[in-house]
Symmetry: C2
Subunit: 109 residues, 2 copies
DNA sequence: TGCAGCCATGTCATATATGACATATACTAA
DNA sequence: TTAGTATATGTCATATATGACATGGCTGCA
């Protein structure tokens, strides 16, 4: 179980341990993981809202299906950069993306 | 003159050409550049607010002075990732950072 | 039974970002 | 002047992220 999955469970209300530092997550690491999870979740929600498959989004991004899958899984090999580019490719504006980052639960569209 | 500097001038009100696509910036590229500029500006503002030199911040980030300088210059060799890590290292929360992304002008603290 | 579309996951060669270093400029104080 | 501090900028070896590919699971449909 890696940190990302760990954090995702918690974000969905599982309250593993004391929410934050179950495994040695520094405060700064948790902030980054939190952002990553929000972005990756929003990516999936929006991709589906657009009726696109991972393959279709990958084409827009000049990337590959496997990478899109990893993006949505908040894989540790995926940068925040790439997630931001993904959201932008789905029509997200800076203001949109700001809302995603600020939101506690990844709401729709 | 690269795209970043181009965009920064414009953000400060220079209105180079027709603001946006003076050089062939796609809409998606401008969104990303916009975010980068807001983050880099916020980084400088906050670093100074904390009374830190670039060297001091670099130490916190386990990076180097030159890289911090490039971060604040929105250099093309700097990722959004690194900028986000920089802001987090200065105490920025996801919500804080969201405000930075949404803001038109990089306000303080 | 296929078979096709969609997604997950692992591997790998290469592209890109990064820290470190050198060096330059600007400003201040002695 | 010289010295010290802060910042800017270019280069480079290496670390990391990326696209591509292979493969497997799952669902629905012929």
């Amino acid at each position: 179980m890696n940190k990302a999955k760990q954090k995702r469970l918690e974000a969905r209300g599982w309250r593993v341990g004391t929410t934050s530092d179950f495994l040695g997550l520094s405060e700064e690491e948790t902030a980054l993981v939190k952002m990553k999870l929000r972005l990756s979740h929003a990516l999936r929600v929006r991709r589906e809202a657009h009726g696109l498959s991972q393959v279709a989004l990958a084409k827009r991004l000049q990337s590959s299906q496997s990478r899109v899958a990893k993006m949505e899984a908040a894989d540790h090999t995926v940068s925040l950069d790439l997630l931001l580019r993904g959201l932008v490719a789905l029509g997200g504006t800076p203001r949109d993306i700001a809302r995603v980052l600020a939101r506690k639960s990844g709401v729709a569209a």
